[in-house]
Subunit: 380 residues, 2 copies
Amino acid sequence: MPRLKAHYRVRCSERDIEAFAQSIALEQSVEVPLEVVREAHIRERIVGAVQSIEKIADGDYLLKVALAAETMDRGRGQPDVAQTFNMLFGNVSMHANVELVDVEFPESFAQRFGGPRFGLAGLRNITGASGRALTCAALKPQGLPVERLAEICKTFALNGVDVIKDDHGLADQDYSPFGGRVQACQRAVLEANRSTGGRSIYAPSLVGSASRLLEQARLLKNEGVGAALIAPSLVGLPLFHELVSDHLEVPVLAHPSFSGGGRIAQPLLMGRFFRMLGADAVIYPHYAGRFAYPEALCSAIARECLADWDGIKAAAPVPAGGMTVERVPELMRFYGRDVMLLIGGSLLRAKDAAELAERTKTFVRGVASAGAADSATLTV
Amino acid sequence: MPRLKAHYRVRCSERDIEAFAQSIALEQSVEVPLEVVREAHIRERIVGAVQSIEKIADGDYLLKVALAAETMDRGRGQPDVAQTFNMLFGNVSMHANVELVDVEFPESFAQRFGGPRFGLAGLRNITGASGRALTCAALKPQGLPVERLAEICKTFALNGVDVIKDDHGLADQDYSPFGGRVQACQRAVLEANRSTGGRSIYAPSLVGSASRLLEQARLLKNEGVGAALIAPSLVGLPLFHELVSDHLEVPVLAHPSFSGGGRIAQPLLMGRFFRMLGADAVIYPHYAGRFAYPEALCSAIARECLADWDGIKAAAPVPAGGMTVERVPELMRFYGRDVMLLIGGSLLRAKDAAELAERTKTFVRGVASAGAADSATLTV
């Protein structure tokens, strides 16, 4: 029977590691002591099995546990998203000394979730960004009325930004209600595209309970909006997947809000899992911005977005979090062409619309001209 | 304008703490540098405000930030669950040195989410457990067929367990599909109740995407099932709240799966937030079981479940995670009567149905007799 292999990094004494490893295998499968499991077929097929315990350093181990794929089924061999994470990291998430660092999926398991429907290549096709990196800018600060956000949106589109997204803090507040904002910003993008011949798309932020997210998805469809922004950890990974699979026909950018802190390694969560669940682009904090993400972590996330994965498209890595127009050359050297650069506040430092247009042009040109250079290697 | 006061525990040098505090206030509101915010009303009403920075120890600070309630609205003064957590802990969750440890809500803010519809008192009314603690047992291991789970369920009910819950690992697997399991276990409980005159209730585990959770909730209603088990962190906090508020008419037990690891203090997340969002009972690991939760943390979670909170009912604390029948007296001394004791695997160590009945009786009697003693004080 097919099994997933979960890799846990465990801090534990040498004396206790074997027993602790066995307890994790039980916890993430039958959740009872082994002697309670009297049925041979449950012991053989369902109970988690410790595959290996590698010592990394004193008190620091890499533990591999094989978990039965059928425990994650929702019937007829179809894996369920919620149940997959329940079995991979449900109860052991409460062990402060355990981190989920990697997962090996059996053949065609992850593929059943679908992955990105557009991915990096699809985003290039839609926006016409061939042979270069993509650009992304954000509408903020929240508190601005709809007309002001739509003006900024138009300036970004007129000056060639590929994807214009809402700040993830924009929800359905009275000062810029979702419906009015989406209509106005979508109209602004269409007008700009008509005048430039460009193909910018707008990605409103979807946030709320399931029923509100479905309403928001319907509104996007009715308005012909070209993309969406959703924070998977905030709305829940299973709901994110269902929205993307069944209710959105446009590319989806995953936002990392509420994703930190968990003891799932960030490249695995943001890169691999978000991509597996359908994110076409994955936003994450880049080195030396507002968040203390080391360079190696940023390239690890990007590599997870881009890695070959049979049947699953590459997602666009979107480094962000306080990037500046001035850093474009450095960022392009770091990431090469297979990236979408997101710059928000640094553009909005402009004192008026003319300066905003100038800064946006500088950003867009910087990315386009770097596109002619060699691709980076993400070796950090 | 009303504001929430978020308390963040921050590890930071003395030199940097003021600037870092200010950056958090911006991050969790407008997400741009302050100079980008040119509108006076946004600076005054929307931008987060650092209220105080208290030094706890060298490099360790308690930071209080006032966040505008209107940033969490979904229009017309109604707070949105997803947006509330987005603003409280969305992006700062990615700061490894920041933990959300407390929140002060403005008047009537948390109340709008509703809290438990039944709570501890409601669970007592439904099960007839007056003047004593409640008992809870779990159906496992997964892999057993429906008939075997139903037999165990019947034995628990015949011997007076108040709430019989599915193992949280039971989903919709082929070996015990959701629909058949719910029908069989509910029938088992009803038959047992008829023969004993008891009032046991069954709490199946609901797990899956939004559409499957709604189907499962409908099936519960059709079958007249008395309770439900849901893991809020696994399905997503906003969806948990919507399910409880709009789709379930019975008490809901919150399971902690996927809740660990986050940098939200566990009593705040499992106790206060789960309760605010409608959990009638909150399951969490107790001291010296399978999880290394210190005693003080366990009583802090219980206190959050039970604390006076204007307009919001108390939830039942449900300590669990490897509790044994032998520990009942100690657990009762620790928690007193305002608790639901959950024992799973320890009951199932019984070698046959007769011994299972005996162990269950011992558990139920142990809790009932302790009910006559004084209530504990949860002072740890």
